[in-house]
Amino acid sequence: MGLKEFIEKSFKKSPWVLHYNCSSCNGCDIEILACMTPLYDMERFGMVNVGNPKHADILVVTGTVNTKNKEVLKNIYDQMPDPKVVVAVGVCAATGGVFREAYNVLGGIDKVIPVDVYVPGCPAKPEAIIDGLYKAAEILKEKYEKMGKAEEVLK
């Protein structure tokens, strides 16, 4: 295994997860916390829950975006260094769910930031969330490869 392959593998094996509750009902948040418990243990994939956007690779968002917190969400996304992946957990984050028609709700979080993985469910199951995070780790690796290619083109 050469150095390049090892770097790519590192991106897949070490995704650090940042969780942001975007006016969610806490249903999905409890399920995300359940992923860290001994029963599901997401650290076996190298996923660590971090509280700092500057260290994070994957942004996990639950809940709908409203006019108040769209700036916060955008701000957190902008603080993360590239390559970064966004996972929308639950139907609220994906489309707005039952709150879609509410006057203050913009809809799913893809109205504000680009989303890579959608995890459906109300609330989403821990198995589904871990599945989505694993998929996100693969996308992270792909994004790193694309970053390398883009740099070669720019040279």
Binding site: S10, E43, G46
Partner: protein, 283 residues
């Protein structure tokens, strides 16, 4: 001279691998104690390599400088240890690096970073006296600060049993293990976000992780020379201390900065006085 250069290079090349591996075992063992499966043993290397190739985001240029100085002094102190230089000099080189590490965190405006840096300063205040006391006690037994001279005394552990306990305590504070995990809030406690590391990101965080591994190896090496007659036994003693630290990490809760200072100062002064008195009475 040539031989010393070769030993220097080998030591600074091997130390991060051993440090990262020990860190991986630490995470695996912690997972085992908590009833989880845990990450692979090579996980710290994946983390560091990933961080090294992330995008560089900077708050100011001084951070870059301080991260590099921290790594450089950590490497230098391991190298100096390997060529059996002066014990006091090694300790001072180590503290210079830490001063830069803290100054780099203080140079940003983030309140989390500031609080973390101040706590790290307090941690430094807690363990630096212990290390100096250790050097003094070693001098009392061997009559020298030079590691080559010190290592001629085969079993320092019998002369300095209490200083060995103090070194174990230094290791716990240095690794930011649980009763003392004040400055970075390890283990996903996020009330300080990431404390002193908040504004170090991407490659610079990786540099700091590598420097931390070097410093961990340095403290373990200091424990190992307590049995320099057969260094293999010394290494085993150091590893046993490391495992006891992991267990302590898992069975204790975090304490406050004030408690840490009071505890570490009282225990270090008490143990040092008793141990030095013991050395005098044995003569």
């Amino acid at each position: 001279m040539m031989r010393e250069i070769i030993i220097f290079v080998i030591a600074i090349a091997l130390a991060p691998f051993i440090g990262g591996f020990l860190n991986g075992i630490d995470r695996k063992l912690t997972a085992f104690i908590q009833g989880r499966y845990g990450p692979p043993v090579w996980q710290p290397f994946y983390d560091v390599i990933k961080l090294l190739y992330k995008q560089k985001i900077l708050v100011n240029d001084f951070q870059v400088f301080s991260a590099y100085i921290y790594l450089l002094t950590a490497i230098l102190s391991i190298g100096l240890f390997a060529i059996k230089a002066d014990l006091l000099m090694i300790l001072f080189v180590m503290s210079v690096g830490l001063a830069f590490y803290i100054a780099g965190a203080l140079s940003t405006k983030s309140p989390y970073s500031q609080v973390g840096a101040q706590r790290e300063l307090m941690q430094m205040l807690a363990y630096e006296p212990m290390l100096i006391f250790f050097a003094i006690a070693v001098y009392n037994v061997t009559g020298s600060f030079n590691l080559g001279q010190i290592m001629k005394h085969g079993r320092l552990l019998f002369d300095l049993p209490l200083m060995f306990i103090l070194l174990g305590l230094v290791l716990t504070i240095k690794l930011k293990k649980s009763p003392f995990d004040l400055s970075t809030s390890e283990h996903a406690h996020q009330e300080l976000v990431r404390g002193i590391l908040t504004d170090y990101s991407g490659p610079y965080l990786a540099l700091i992780h590598i420097a931390d591994w070097y410093e961990m190896i340095l403290i373990l090496a200091m424990i190992a020379i307590l049995w320099s007659q057969n260094l293999l036994i010394g290494v085993l003693i150091a590893l046993a201390t490391f495992f006891v630290d992991i267990v302590i990490d898992n069975i204790t809760a975090r304490m406050t900065v004030k408690w840490m200072l009071a505890f570490s100062w009282s225990i270090s002064i008490l143990f040092t006085i008793i141990n030095i008195a013991y050395i005098y009475f044995r003569r």
